[in-house]
Amino acid sequence: MLLLSLLLHGALLLFFSAPLVPRLDTPRPVYQVDLLSAPVKSPRAGRPDAGKKPAVTKKKAVAKAEPKVEKKTGKAPEVKKTEPPKKSVVAKPVVKEPVVTPVKTPPRTEVKVDPSSPQQTQDVIAEMRRKQEQRQRIEDLKRQLATLSASPSPQTSVPQAPLGAVAGTGHETGADFASWIKQAIVEAWALPDHYRNRGLWCEVELRFDYRGYRVGYLMVRPSGDGYFDATVKRAVMQLEQLPSAPGKSLNLSIKFDPKELL
């Protein structure tokens, strides 16, 4: 009885003193997420139908798949030797890589039937039928997949939409140049609160050559406040070169219109 009482009191003490014990703050890893992807010519869109991979990605998939096929074919004889025939019938590998092995022959299974038991014979025959149907189904799926792969990827009217944009159907991961430029200028623009809530806005034109160098800057519509315009110029002037060559000259008009703060 005494022992039980001691145990109960000890448990209570532990329970209530737990918050008093200082916690060991284990250093947590710091993850930095770069939301600023390098611009690409044809950014991938966020639409589900834009996910169909065209030729470039297809090649990569084939190249990656080849060694897997070798492994599977290398392993197959071992399965035949060590595993019982029941397991070898299961066609899981074929489902995983249907494109690579379109004409794979099903492995042969040796079924031992005891002639003394007619019930067992019936069971084995039923099992064989079931497996045959399964193989047929897999073959059908493979044919459907091959047809889909051969068809062209869908296109929409907005081929330059950035990653995640609803209307885009590009095929490269990344943002478009306009998105990248916007992000870069926002980061470079230092606008003291003094200038906000005054309804100031201005518009500039920026020109980049085919290599991505800034070759032109023009204040198209000044705000009327030279000091506000100077902050804009300082922001724009920090953008000397794009991270990659666009391949053609870019001419962009950029409006600086800070939101009002309460």
Binding site: V186, A190, D225, G226, Y227, R234, L252
Partner: protein
């Protein structure tokens, strides 16, 4: 075609042109930037470099004062001096000598560089502000004076830096007046805008209250009980001359110069009740501004001098009202709160700041002269009272007793960046901020 048809065709063509213009404008830009990534300009502020003999204390004082002013402005984000490279230690009076690449590498968009030279006559300071991105000189100022003037040179350069960035000069090279009891009596004191070099300028040995700077001259008005009655006095700061300009029976309190420096609005109780009056600089009575059964006190002029905000209890609790000087029409400004006091009209005319008693403490609020846009500026314990604007409208000076005796604080007009002024010990209240000195 008859003339009437021609007219219609012309109108139609004009309409089409207007439509086309609107369409062109409506087409919009390829990119719209509606937010700025940084709310302050990254600024590298280098230490003064000696060109000949070294005056370390002076250089340190100068850098400290300049740094404090720029920090209070809220316009800049300082670049860490520990990261500075060799260009920070070089004397570069022209932009062609500055290694802008180094500053760009550190993320600075602007850099302040300066050097000094000690001569037989005193001190020569050469200050420069460079635009790192556009690689050009934004501001170059040379100052010559006594070594003891280094603080003032720093304030003046800070004012010029603000002007070169915003187009509007700063208000650091100014003075503040306030009431302190550190000598045993409540007397009038004068100090620099950051609180340094405080000096007592009255010796009434009674009770001095409510100072106000003249908008043009270097003189002050204040109320003093020196003669037993709360009378209004005027004092010339440099000559020390003093005159009692209003000694009406009863109260002569809260005098405020009008922006044209021709009249003073104040509260008199000569007729038995506290009302607002206008008097001349010689004390002669010009006009009675208000007439109600309630108490009318604490006048504050609009920057145009056509209206006066004041506190009145004419509708019950003390609230802020505005009276039109010419017509005498009074309109109520505040309706919230049970006790609103000490209004101060901003120099740009857009805001009236006042203190309100809520939950046992006075806190500062601001409101537009039309009664809209009310917003609380200070929070928490402690009474924040007697707000006054800096002459550039960027800052608000006020008293705060959250740590015991009243001390003077300054904050930006939006309520941010509050800090205590470096004033000598003792209770400090009723501040006033001078025009440019």
């Amino acid at each position: 075609m008859n003339p009437l048809s021609k007219k219609y065709v012309h109108i139609l063509l004009l309409g089409l042109c207007g439509l086309l213009l609107n369409l062109t404008l409506a087409l919009g830009a390829d990119i719209v930037i509606d937010e700025a990534g940084q709310r302050a300009i990254p600024l590298a502020h280098t230490a003064l470099v000696a060109e000949s003999r070294i005056a370390a204390d002076m250089a340190q004082t100068f850098d400290g004062v300049l740094g404090g002013d720029l920090d209070l402005s809220g316009l800049f984000a300082p670049v860490d001096p520990a990261s500075f490279l060799d260009d920070a230690r070089r004397v570069t009076p022209t932009s062609s000598q500055v290694n802008f690449a180094q500053w760009r590498l550190l993320g600075a968009q602007m850099v302040i560089k300066g050097s000094y030279e000690l001569t037989a006559d005193g001190l020569i300071l050469k200050m420069r502000l460079y635009d790192v991105i556009n690689r050009r000189l934004l501001l170059g100022q040379n100052y010559q004076g006594r070594v003891a003037d280094a603080r003032r040179m720093a304030h003046r350069f800070a004012d010029q830096v603000l002007k070169s960035i915003t187009g509007k000069e700063g208000a650091f090279d100014t003075r503040i007046a306030y009431i302190s009891n550190r000598g045993g009596h409540k007397e009038l004191y004068l100090a620099e805008s950051d609180g340094y070099d405080a000096r007592r300028i009255t010796d009434h040995r009674s009770l001095v209250l409510n100072p106000d700077f003249s908008p043009q001259g270097r003189e002050l008005i204040f109320t003093s009980y020196r003669a037993g009655n709360p009378d209004l006095y005027r004092k010339e700061i440099y000559t020390g001359k003093e005159a009692r300009i209003s000694r009406q029976e009863g109260l002569n309190i809260a005098g405020r110069y009008n922006p044209g420096n021709s009249e003073i609005a104040l509260t008199l109780s000569r007729d038995g009740n506290a009302e607002l009056y206008l008097i001349g600089l010689d004390g002669r009575l010009h006009k009675r501004l208000t007439n109600s059964w309630g108490i009318d006190v604490d006048p504050s002029w609009s920057p145009l001098g056509d209206k006066v905000a004041f506190v009145s209890s004419r509708q019950g609790n003390p609230h802020i009202f505005v009276v039109d000087v010419l017509s005498g029409v009074v309109s109520r400004l505040t309706s919230a709160g049970k006790y609103n006091a000490t209004p101060a009209w901003s120099p740009d005319g857009k805001w009236i700041v006042f203190s309100r008693l809520e939950e046992g403490f006075f806190n500062l609020y601001r409101i537009r002269p039309d009664g809209t846009g009310e917003r609380q500026l200070t929070f928490g314990a402690g009474n924040k009272e007697h707000p006054r604007w800096s002459p550039d409208g960027r800052f608000i000076l006020y008293s705060n007793d959250h740590s015991g005796p009243k001390r003077l604080y300054v904050m930006r007009a939006d309520g941010s960046g509050a800090r205590e002024l470096s004033l000598p010990a003792g209770s400090c209240s009723h501040p006033a901020w001078s025009m440019r000195w």
